[in-house]
Assembly symmetry: C2
Homo-oligomer: 295 residues x 2
Amino acid sequence: MAQLIDGKATSAAVNNETGCEVRRIQSELEITPALTVVIVGDDPASQVYVKMKQKRADEIGIESRKIALPSKTTQEELLNVVDKLNEDNAVNGILVQSPLPSHLDENEVIERINPAKDVDCFHPYNVGKMLIGSRDAFFPCTPQGVMVLMQRYGIDPSGKHAVILGRSNIVGKPMMSLLVQKAEGANATVSVCHSRTKNIEEICRQGDIIIAAIGKTEFVTADMVKDEAVVIDVGVNRVEDSSKKKGYRLVGDVAFEEVEKKASYITPVPGGVGPMTIAMLMQNAVKACERQNKS
Amino acid sequence: MAQLIDGKATSAAVNNETGCEVRRIQSELEITPALTVVIVGDDPASQVYVKMKQKRADEIGIESRKIALPSKTTQEELLNVVDKLNEDNAVNGILVQSPLPSHLDENEVIERINPAKDVDCFHPYNVGKMLIGSRDAFFPCTPQGVMVLMQRYGIDPSGKHAVILGRSNIVGKPMMSLLVQKAEGANATVSVCHSRTKNIEEICRQGDIIIAAIGKTEFVTADMVKDEAVVIDVGVNRVEDSSKKKGYRLVGDVAFEEVEKKASYITPVPGGVGPMTIAMLMQNAVKACERQNKS
C-alpha cells in the first residue's frame, strides 16, 4: 500500500516557512512583499482561484491586491494596467489570471509583464531560463510544487525514469524541463507522452515516477503502473456526483484506489499537488520582492 | 541497409533556397541581410567555424562581417560591442562565437543580444518561445537542422518514440522541445537519456528515432538500435588517425558500420547533421532581416 503524499500538510509547512521569510524581509529591508492579481471578467472558477490566492497571501503576510476589470476591457487597457504595475516599485509580483476573455491576446499580455515580476513563470524569458537550467529563474508553480513534494518526501529523481503524461505549457513541458536538468533534486531520465503517443501504457509501465497531467479522469490504471512506482497526479477533473452539494466531485488522472495498492508513494486528488501550486506562487512573490530590493 | 541521409546535399538545397530568399528581399525591400560574428581570442577551432560561417554567408549573398577581439577583452568592452550591434539597424543577426575566454561571462553576453537579432537562439527569451511552441521564434541551428533533415527525407516524427541521448543546452534540451510540440513535423513521444540514466541501452532500443548527442565515440552500437530505426548522429569526436594529414579523423556518437545494417535511415559523420547547422544559421539571419524590416 502506497504512502500518501500529503500536499495539504506539505504546503502548510512551506507556507509557514514563507511566512517566516516575509517577516525576515520586513525586519531586514523594511518592506512587505506585495502581489497584485489582475482578473478580467467574471469567470466563476477564476474568481474562486483569485480569492484562494488572496486568502493565502493574507495568511502568510504578503500584501495582496486584486484589480478586477470588466469583461469588455480592451487589449490596450489591459496592457496599460500591466505597464503601470511594472513601473510601480511597490508591486513585486504580477499575476494575470488565466483564462482571459477570448477577445484578448493572452500571450501579448504575459510578455508585457516585467520578467522580474512574473511570479507565474509564464514569460518566455523565464521559461527559457528554466530550460537552460539557470538557478536564478522563477520556477512555474505547479511543476515546482511537484518537485518540492518529492524533495520533502525524500524521493530523489536522479537516475530514475520519470514518465510525464501530458505536454501542456503549464505542466508537462516545464515538468520535463525541471526533471531533466543536471542539478540536485533533478537528473531524471525523462519521457513525455501525450495524445499522439502510440504505446502510452507500455511507456507508463517503465516509470519509476509517473506524473499524470493529461486531463482524463482515472486514465492511469493499476496495470499501467510498475510495482513501487511514485505516482503524482496533477489532474483535476469534475465528475458528476449527486451525493455532493455542488453536484460533482474532483477526480484526478489516476485511478487512485487500484493504483495506491501498487505504488510506493501517491498523491491524492484533492489534497495532493493542488495546494502546492499556491504555496509556490507565494514563494515566488517573496523571492521577487527580495531580488528587487537587494541590489 | 539504411538509406543514407545526405546532410551535404540537403544543406546545399536549403542554402540555395536561402539564396533565393536573399534575392527576393533585396528586390522587395532593397536591403541585404547582414550577419555579424563576434569572436574573442584565438581558439583555432573557433577561427575555423567563423571562417566557414562567413564563407557560407558570402556564397548565399548574406553580408557578413567579423569583429575579432583580443583574448584580453573585458566583459564591459564585449558588452559595449554587443550594444552597438544591437543599435545598428544595418545588422540583422548577431552571433558571439562560443566558447569565450574563461574570464568572460558568456550568459550575460548572450542575454545582452537583442532577441530579434539572436540568430543562434541562445537568448532565454527565444529559448522560452521555442519551448512554449511559438511559431514566430527562432529555432536553434543544430536541432532545427535535424528537424529539417527528417522533413526532407519524409520522416514524420508524429507518434514515433524519439530517444534523445544527451541533455545539453545546444542539442539535447532544444531537440526535446522541438520534437514534443503539438505541431506538424513534431508530435513525437520523447525520451531524454544522459549520464545519469541507468538503462540507457534498453531505452535506446525503443527508439523509432534515435538522436545521439552525448559526445562519446561510437557509443550507440547495433544492439542498442531497433530494426528500421532512424538514427541521427549529432556527435563529432576526434579520433587519432596517423593515416590522416591532421593526425585525426572525425567520428560520431554512433558505430556507423554496424548500425547502418539495422537502421532504416542514418546520418554519416561528417556530412550529416554538421552542414545543416550553418544552413539553419543562414536561414535565421534572413528571417531576422525580414522581420526587422517588415513592419
